[in-house]
């Protein structure tokens, strides 16, 4: 056991040093760590009162000033505080949605790749079907049916985005299953559970991890889009929800750029950071891409 762990630690160390060779990836990781820390520290930095409509202190739609660095919204709340607090919901929903979708995708991918047969054929047919469906349309349909809220958005994103992960994991599982060491494990009498848990999953998980990094970015964009269309929790502060109120309260037509820029920029920066990280990690895994 200890030998296995030493080997894995060495492999992880090698992967890490390859990852750090990608400047863009390291930059993305740094940005992510910073933003996650800011989001976690939001209650310490501003306090919950700052985003409470009833306790708003400023005047409505004021441009940036010494007191309100990023101006105020239509209720007189500080846009800086809102953006900071919005990070919590956006990141949380994005992360949970990506994790849920990868969990579904991994289970479907490993099962269809390992077992084969008509059951797998049916599952793959279903996967292809969901892969083709326009995801936003399906997510909208799901959200209206289940009622607005963060949980619904997580579910809607997961249900619409698992198929690509499933295909990826299935392809990787099929490649692994063709390797001699799995044949050896089977010949020695290893059951399905043993082979999946000890041989297939360890080989598939790095790929899933890389995919997760890319998936969180897309999930955050999807979250903000659904919130913008009015399918989010109307009380919680999120980046997509802020852009919705900026648009519906007439702040955009009034030229309140300070209300419009911070939440959108925050989304773009977080998504870009996840994408850069993911691409760097992807090229660590797949040497063919290293030339990119």
């Amino acid at each position: 056991m200890s030998a296995t762990w030493a080997r894995r630690r060495a492999a992880a160390g090698a992967a890490w040093s390859q990852f750090t060779a990608h400047r863009a990836g390291v930059f993305g990781l740094g940005v992510l760590v910073l933003i996650v820390m800011l989001a976690l520290a939001a209650p310490l930095l501003t306090g919950a009162d700052a985003v409470d409509v009833t306790k708003a202190t400023g005047e409505r739609l004021r441009p940036p000033s010494g007191q309100y660095w990023l101006g105020t919204d239509e209720n007189g709340r500080s846009v800086a505080a809102l953006t900071l607090w919005g990070a919590r919901i956006s990141l949380l929903v994005g992360l949970s949605a990506a994790l849920l979708s990868l969990a579904i995708g991994t289970v479907v991918g490993v099962l269809t790749g390992h077992f084969g047969g008509w059951g797998s054929a049916v599952l793959m047919r279903l996967t292809d079907f969901f892969l083709v469906l326009p995801s936003l349309v399906l997510a909208i349909a799901l959200s209206t049916v289940l009622g607005a809220g963060a949980g619904t958005i997580v579910l809607a994103i997961a249900v619409t985005s698992w198929p690509s992960a499933a295909r990826l994991v299935r392809a990787q599982t099929l490649t692994l299953e063709a390797r001699p060491y799995i044949e050896r494990a089977k010949a020695l009498g290893g059951g399905h559970g043993h082979i999946i848990a000890r041989h297939v999953l360890p080989g598939v998980l790095p790929l899933v991890f890389v995919n997760a990094t890319l998936a969180v970015g897309t999930a955050i964009v999807a979250e903000s889009t659904l919130a913008f269309l009015g399918l989010g929790d109307p009380v919680a502060v999120s980046w997509g929800g802020m852009l919705r109120t900026a648009s519906t309260s007439g702040a955009v037509t009034a030229g309140a750029w300070w209300y419009l820029v911070p939440p959108g920029l925050a989304i773009a920066v977080v998504v870009l950071a996840f994408t850069l990280c993911g691409r760097a990690a992807e090229s660590v895994l797949n040497p063919r891409l290293r030339e990119r």
Binding site: F129, V132, P134, R167, S247, G255, L260, L276
Partner: protein, 341 residues
Amino acid sequence: MTDALAPAEAATEPAAPAGGGGLGRYLAAKVGAALLSLALIVVLGFLLFRALLPGDAVRTMTRGRPVSAEGLAELERQYGLDLPLWRQFLRYLGNLAQGDLEQSYTFRVPVIQKIGERLGPTLLLVGVGTLIAVALGLWLGQRTAWRRDSPFDRTATGVALVLWSAPTFWVGLLLLSATSGLFPSGGITYPDTPPGFWPQALDTAHHMVLPTLTLVAVVYAQYQLVMRTSLIEEMHADHLLTARAKGLTDDQVRRRHAVPNALLPTVTLVFLHLGLVVSGAITVETVFSWPGLGLLISEALRAPDYPLLQGTFLVLAAAVVVMNLIADLLYRVLDPRVRAA
């Protein structure tokens, strides 16, 4: 927007249709799969909006208006909501077979009529937007791949990644507030534009500038990045060395020998990622009040108008399935390697 950028997509999974068999079998398999998908869409449309729907739809329909118990019962009968679920499903199938998507709660007209009215503007916006995005993406993609790691490549790839990361509606809102007054903020024409083809066309074009720009900004990046990756993979091919050796100029090698091969995965992608374009259209139309299907969806969301949502879901999902079928068949025609298989 939920499908990952997957820049390696072309590399890892060359969308190879099932080999073996003649053209007839290939056609039958693809058309059969598409028909199965259409059937699944029909079932899903029913399950989502009838079986999963919480509370009763009739109450939503009459929200804010005093309606007697008899009135509610009458409405339920009218929409067939008092029947058992399987009878409702049969009724739904029967209606669908006649092209009837029921009545919209809010507009009080058949859903199919409303969709028909809104189809034109969406096709115009999505068509023009996709054409520009494809042309721009392919051009930038091959340029950046050919001069890899040049300042031009770094800038263009960086810009594409940033635009791809930004939410569509935010780009639209930014454009709207940055160009305030230069372009109309919504709609497709002004009400006081004189009738006649040219004034109307010019006015429409004026209204289209910002929505199209937004759609292009968000969609072109994926074409560029995939074209770039697929051309980079192609650049080490032996036939390029031969082409160079026989004395072709750099430009000729790129245009005649490298690009055509790299074009294939990208062209298929145009069709395969049409769902992304549909998502883009929904948000862009909402931001700019462009009177198409996307705006219809967000209007239906506000009510919420379930028959209308169901109808748009069925129509858009079916359209994407059909476009995918076309992409599969087109790929077969375009790529001699697949045809020979």
